[in-house]
């Protein structure tokens, strides 16, 4: 009797949850971008919101910027939000490393991944007039004497990629951190550094214009528009994949149907032709990975970075 009562209660609870989730969404959904307007995450989030809103009835996705603390402010806000699907985080790779590196007050497990919309593999770049024609030339030189490498900052995913590259090849680099991509680009195009590790999305348009060259891309596939660029493995750099990601995540206890709804919504957005075109024009390769695949990407990124962070005592 007691058992069935409990079972009944649990079922009713679960059902009411489902009922709530079935109506979802009944009001506007907050898409929290933890950065200021105008950046890559903000721009892509606004593109997605605009496309998604053409599929939604009676509710809209509203982008809200909660900037500060290198993303930690907005990320923490979502970690502590009600798990009802009305607060969604524009999630980036920094969520994985921020607890270790910046003492962020959340854990990666505080979020349930929804879907990834953009994977940005690391690329090895050199100035247009660099003497290095292939990645192997560069590695050979860097084994002899350290090369100056232009990265977005110390203890960023780009710096960690450099350390992983050193571990895999024995090449030595001297890291020159920059504040913002503009400074990195200036140093590279002006020939003030030997090489750099950048995000593909930032590098591609400049490689196409001929102001820089991409020697290798840390992905398992070739870029459609520049298929001549070898992958890190083909170039013998010993790292299979090194990519940062952009996607959606919700607070950990969000009901499953809501996660599925959002994940399917992202899929519809991904299949939209105008969205595809706009993303490509902006330099972001549109991708779609559902909740389970996104979780795998996050786990693999966490494994890659956490060892490097510990070995190099970063953030301490």
């Amino acid at each position: 009797m007691m058992k069935s009562l409990i079972l009944g209660l649990v079922l009713t609870g679960a059902l009411s949850n489902v009922a709530l989730a079935e109506d979802y969404p009944t009001r506007d959904i907050d898409l929290v971008v933890p950065f200021a307007p105008g950046g890559a995450v903000d721009v892509t989030s606004r593109l997605i919101a605009a496309t998604a809103n053409t599929f939604l009835q009676g509710a809209e996705i509203v982008v809200s910027n909660r900037a500060g603390g290198g993303g930690v402010i907005g990320q923490s806000f979502v970690a502590g939000a009600d798990p009802d699907g009305y607060t969604v985080l524009a999630m980036t790779s920094s969520v994985v490393t921020n607890p270790q590196l910046k003492g962020a007050p959340y854990k990666v497990s505080d979020y349930t991944p929804v879907a990834a919309y953009n994977l940005d593999p690391e690329v090895l770049v050199v100035p247009a007039n660099s003497p290095f024609k292939t990645a192997q030339d560069l590695i050979a030189a860097a084994r002899q004497a350290p090369l100056n490498m232009d990265v977005a900052g110390i203890a960023t995913s780009h710096h960690m990629a450099g350390i992983a590259l050193s571990n895999a090849t024995g090449a030595k680099f001297s890291y020159l951190p920059a504040k913002g991509f503009g400074e990195q680009l200036q140093a590279m195009v002006g020939g003030h550094v030997d090489c750099g590790l950048w995000a593909m999305g930032e590098a591609l348009s400049h490689a196409k214009s001929g102001s820089i060259r991409i020697l290798a891309v840390a992905s398992d596939v070739h870029d459609e528009s520049m298929p001549e660029i070898p992958t890190f493995e083909e170039a013998g750099l010993g790292i299979p994949i090194w990519a940062t990601f952009r996607g959606w995540a919700v607070p950990a206890d969000t009901p499953e149907p809501v996660v599925t709804f959002l994940s399917d919504l992202m899929k519809k957005v991904f299949e939209d032709a105008t969205y595809q075109q706009k993303m490509k024009e902006g330099g972001y390769e549109p991708t779609y990975r559902g909740a389970a695949d996104f979780q795998k990407i996050i786990t693999s990124y966490a494994e890659q970075t956490s060892t490097i962070i510990e070995e190099n005592k970063m953030g301490k």
Binding site: A36, P37, G38, G39, A40, D42, V43, R46, L47, A50, S64, N65, R66, A67, G68, G69, G70, V72, I73, S76, L101, K102, G103, A104, P105, N148, G153, I154, A155, T156, H159, S174, Y175, L176, P177, A178, K179, G180, G182, E183, L185, Q186, A187, V189, G190, H192, S205, H206, K208, S209, G210, S211, Q277, K278, E281, G282, G283, M314, G315, K316
Partner: protein, 521 residues
């Protein structure tokens, strides 16, 4: 050339031209409201620009960007509260001139200087953008380090008699700049475990506090003083005639030229920023003034209402707006934080700034450049309308009510930069600090420069030493880094010059009427 005409054609569509004009109007108003600046205006506007076609959205942004820098001078002159950071120095001579009953003259000088600076800069942009872009590329880590040292050296020109207090101020700015995640080591410094400080003290709220909130305290002090001494309220200055005599125009021409050139040069260099340009321009104008006019019949003391003290920073800040587009459009490198927002707005419309922009979307790229020219032309008459309207409606509000309104706007402005309550505390705290510094007679200018340049100076010096394997000689290497060596030499000159002329002044017999050149503002 065809491309330039295509750019013109794009701009001269009625809808685009209308939005440019709207932008200029909005920029002037936003600029003239303390606590709200172009950065905050863009943060609000970028989401809205999503629905506009690219040419209209960019025209509107150019208008706002251009005019906000000019509009900041209006409250700077009328109530000694800079509307934007770019009008920081305009408060000194501008308000002093307004208090002598020449508010109209001061405003007119400010607006004309802004328009002239902007026009010169956009013409330079139109003619030699690619050549200028190549100059930006010559700037590596060593050159950037030397540039920050040059910028900080312009502090010398701002020291008001007490050199020690100026140094304290600069040191304070540099120290606050060390708060946050260090670019060099990747470790957090002085964050006291607060995630709000990871990126350092939030910059926009801090500026809002230093200018806006501090001004509120000063207005309050004035009010109490007037009450205690039962004086009538000192009313807002009457604007009066806004006509500039031709003799003054002729006299200001060289200042406009120098300041525009400084603004142009600094604007092209990524990371140098508008504040550095206005300080350098003010410093140069001060030197010229002391040589030619100081102590003459009918001339105000430097810092007490000289036309040059208004013209130099205003010409320089508008020159920066246009020239900061050079590295942005041609290389994809933003020159300052506001122009960086253009990248976001462009990306929303599938445009990527950089060499490909001119090849693929030449009409848009040139339209942006031409828009700066037209925005400055449109701004001239509009500015005078805004001055009349704004001063009649806003500045006619009683002082006690105005204090509340400015404070409210400051809090709103600080909060809207990231929608974070912490920013409000930063603004209030910075206001208290700035007011305390004022009471102690410590100038604010050097602290601001330290704040703006601190992190960049640290990182670029560290990176330079990394390249030279620890040798400091890299900064004075005339063979490999001639630009850096020249800038270091020029900085040294800025420090030594007042010393020498100070010594020379002492040798002169007393009573020649020439006061020591170091004292000002």
């Amino acid at each position: 050339m065809d491309q330039i005409f295509l750019g013109f054609a794009q701009l001269l569509q009625p809808s685009v031209l209308l939005l440019l004009t709207l932008g200029v109007l909005a920029g002037l108003v936003v600029g003239s409201i303390p606590g709200i600046n172009d950065n905050i205006a863009f943060a609000v506007f970028i989401p809205f620009s999503f629905g506009l076609p690219a040419d209209q959205a960019l025209a509107l942004m150019v208008g706002v960007y251009c005019a906000a820098a000019a509009g900041g001078a209006i409250p700077a002159i009328m109530i000694k509260v800079p509307g934007t950071a770019s009008a920081l120095i305009t408060t000194i001579d501008g308000n002093a001139m307004a208090r002598t009953g020449q508010a109209g003259r001061a405003l007119s000088i400010a607006m004309t200087s802004s328009v002239v600076g902007g026009l010169i800069s956009s013409l330079v942009l139109l003619v030699c953008a690619p050549a200028l872009a190549n100059i930006a590329l010559r700037f590596g880590y060593v050159e950037n380090a030397a540039l920050t040292i040059l910028g900080l050296s312009s502090v010398v020109g701002l020291l008001s008699g007490n050199v020690l207090k100026g140094m304290i101020s600069a040191a304070l700015g540099l120290l606050v700049a060390t708060i946050g995640y260090s670019q060099v080591t990747g470790l957090p410094r002085y964050t006291f475990g607060s995630v709000n400080l990871i990126e350092g003290v939030p910059f926009v709220p801090m500026l809002v506090g230093l200018f806006g909130v501090a001004a509120v305290f000063e207005l309050l002090r004035d009010i109490f003083k007037e009450r205690r001494e039962s004086q009538p309220y000192t009313s807002i200055p009457v604007i009066g005639s806004m006509k500039l005599e031709s003799g003054l125009v002729r006299r200001l021409l060289p200042v406009w030229g120098t300041s525009s050139a400084i603004g142009n040069f600094i604007g092209v260099l990524p990371g140098a920023g508008m504040l550095m340009a206005i300080y350098l321009a003010y410093d140069q104008a001060a030197r010229r003034y002391r040589r030619r006019f100081a102590g003459k019949e009918g001339e105000a003391e430097w810092g007490k209402g000289t036309p040059e003290g208004i013209a130099a920073p205003e010409a320089a800040n508008n020159a920066v707006t246009a020239s900061s587009m050079v590295p942005l459009l041609s290389l994809g490198i933003p020159g300052n934080s506001t122009s960086a927002l253009f990248i976001g707005a462009m990306a929303l419309h599938g445009l990527v700034p950089g060499p490909l922009l001119f090849a693929q979307h030449g009409e848009i790229a040139w339209m942006v450049i031409v828009a700066f020219l037209v925005a400055n032309i449109v701004m001239w008459p509009l500015a005078f309308v805004v001055i009349r309207v704004v001063s009649r409606t806003i500045f006619s509000i009683p002082k006690s009510v105005m204090v509340g309104i400015i404070l409210l706007l400051c809090i709103l402005g600080a909060y809207s930069d990231g929608n974070n309550l912490f920013n409000v505390w930063v603004a209030l705290g910075a206001g208290v600090v700035a007011f305390a510094m004022n009471l102690a007679g410590i100038p604010l200018g050097p602290a601001i420069l330290g704040l703006v340049l601190g992190a960049q100076m640290e990182a670029s010096i560290s990176n330079s030493l990394n390249i030279s394997q620890g040798s400091w000689l890299i900064f004075i290497d005339p063979v490999n880094h001639p630009i850096a060596a020249a800038m270091i030499a020029f900085s040294a000159l800025m420090w030594v010059a007042p010393l020498i002329s100070g010594l020379r002044g002492r040798k002169e017999p007393a009573g020649t009427g020439q006061s020591t050149p170091v004292s000002e503002s």
